[in-house]
Symmetry: C2
Subunit: 374 residues, 2 copies
């Protein structure tokens, strides 16, 4: 019988696991939040992942559980583990992706380079941090943020007054130094429960309005040392935090050639979508192999350069389908991936991958093809 | 709303359309012959494709109909067209894939190079053909053959006596000259209803016991003239027969450098599986684009060499799943595709694709990885 992989969450990350699951002969089952989600085709259950009995019923028929997102509460995750369910990544690892204060403390223990940071429970504590860091900083809610949400640049403690008012008693906000970075990078690493690790080449990511807009793989003009440091950071975190499945480490590269860890994601990540078409083993296949504890695939690029451009928002009128023809006829080499979502301003509704021996060519074609869906 | 593509037949060809359909945002629906077929995940109906009302009910909810195989009877196909259903390839084209005598006559009209052939209704007629062709020939049942079935090499008319006994009155068998070929090739072409055509590089196919065993893309040591002739034959047939979707033309290369048409398939074909990983646009994506009348994708290879090796039969004990780990750990660069079928001697249950800049390397790895499943 085929190995059954259960995915909690029916978004585009679960959707993009369908293709490699079919080819590998894995039986993919998705617990979707509602009808008509991105991963609808593989949805075998619909329900609330905050409800233990809903989750228990879903996982009863699978061999291993993994995730479309990191939002499943710790008490649910730990109840599954207590039930004897194989959960990858497990709750001990996921806590570091769920709480940025816990993550910062752990990375400090591991000696991983990161921005200066502090847990601040009051405006006074925040102001002290700002005073020590040129009067500025980045305040983050420890939990629940994604795609720039829960992140705010502040230049006075009062800029975070509303957030402090909303923090539960006894909890704190995270403040980080505003890193003078020259660009952002991302390091993808896959790790199996049995310990095998495979690292992808470090990539450059371009954010717009806090959302990933473009990725270039590998990161252009990356010195050998930088590539090695990024990979070693990814491996140290994957091993130190006990991550299973895909890990994405978002990084800052500073003008004094340091690399600092910005954020973590313990799942396939937007910065790794290029690998679907640009690497021998795409991140969605690799994630499935890792969580199923199957040997990892080659992370070698298929082409000198691969570029991913997100389709954000989608057309103001009509669906993405109506734009296919014009994009395809203009760019027969573009790989268009859609998420089955209705267009909405700023929403990630798809992406385009282009590989080429020429970087400028790949960037141009990927941007131009994506623009047909704007 | 997403474009809905209906596939009649739930085998591995329908299954391998699932992955590109998901990424392109097409709504793929499959009429499967039974439960638990290869394309089960996308099966929205189960029923007999010989029954018009079953097929009518299935196609009522789709925008275009295509096929996993060429066995849907002409009267059913023509009833659908009369109903106003978009059927690709249509019955006028499919008749040439369904009846080899009709195909031979049409290719003769088109001036396409092919082996000497004749329609023979009796042993006497067959013997006359054999006498004119060194006493040997290949007898084929015009309908229903595949993977070497319905094909027999004969050296006396009496070798076909049982087949003549089974031929309905007024019908004939096909006999072809036994071509002294040096190797077999295959040409893949995609054609849209609107006429756009895209040709893949001609590939070399290796048959064992009448079944495709390996494919090398592109065909090694192929002179430029051979590549051009193969492509022009593919295009002439696609246009001449009005094929829509993927067309595979199986070819003989003779020792006097002629290329002769052996067989046709009007669907994705085993000889094109390499393109899933080895070409910018795999044949399953291309077939969907073609039948949906979307612009065709680039047919450029992603690597200098790609090799496909079929997994035939599968392990004598246990399922394919149990062999994944050993194949994957030994060959992290191999792309393993499985069909969700139980192992059975000689049955096509999966294949392995490997791309490389070195042909010997690709052949070795693809064979070695596939051997883990034997």
């Amino acid at each position: 019988m085929a190995l059954r992989v259960g995915v909690i969450g029916g978004g585009q990350l679960a959707r993009m696991m369908i293709a490699p699951a079919v080819e590998l002969g894995l039986d993919l089952r998705v617990l979707a939040e509602g009808e008509g989600m991105s991963a609808q085709l593989a949805a075998t259950a619909v329900g609330d992942y905050h409800d233990l009995e809903t989750v228990r019923a879903f996982v009863a028929d699978v061999d291993v559980v993994t995730f479309d997102h990191e939002h499943v509460p710790q008490d649910i995750l730990r109840a599954l583990v207590a039930d004897g369910v194989a959960v990858h990544p497990g709750p001990d690892a996921l806590q570091f992706a769920q709480d940025k204060l816990v993550m910062r403390a752990r990375l400090a223990d591991l000696g991983v380079p990161q921005p200066d940071w502090a847990a601040v429970a009051s405006e006074q504590e925040l102001q002290s941090f700002l005073d020590a860091h040129d009067g500025q900083g980045v305040v983050k809610t420890p939990r629940g943020g994604y795609d720039g949400k829960g992140v705010r640049v502040v230049r006075a403690a009062s800029d975070a007054r509303d957030w402090f008012a909303a923090v539960p008693a006894g909890e704190a906000l995270l403040v980080e130094e505003l890193v003078p970075f020259v660009r952002e990078l991302a390091q993808q690493v896959a790790r199996r429960p049995s310990g095998e690790i495979a690292a992808y080449p470090v990539v450059e990511t371009v954010q717009r309005d806090g959302v990933c807009a473009e990725v270039i793989a590998p990161a252009p003009a990356a010195a050998e040392r930088l590539v090695e440091v990024a990979e070693s950071i990814g491996i140290r975190i994957a091993e130190g935090l006990g991550v299973t499945g895909m890990l994405a480490v978002e990084l800052f590269e500073t003008d004094d050639e340091r690399i600092l860890v910005n954020e973590l994601a313990m799942r396939p990540h937007n910065s790794g979508h290029w690998s679907q078409d640009g690497a021998v083993t795409g991140q969605f296949e690799q994630h499935l192999r890792a969580v199923a504890d199957l040997p990892l695939g080659s992370t070698a690029p298929r082409a000198p350069w691969s570029v991913m451009v997100n389709i954000l928002g989608g057309p103001a009128e009509g669906g993405l389908g109506e734009r296919f023809a014009s994009a395809m006829v203009a760019h027969p080499e573009a790989k268009i991936h859609t998420y089955g979502k209705d267009p909405r301003p700023g929403r990630k509704v798809g992406h385009v991958n282009v590989s080429s021996s020429d970087l400028d060519d790949a960037v141009y074609v990927a941007r131009a093809a994506a623009a047909h869906f704007a």
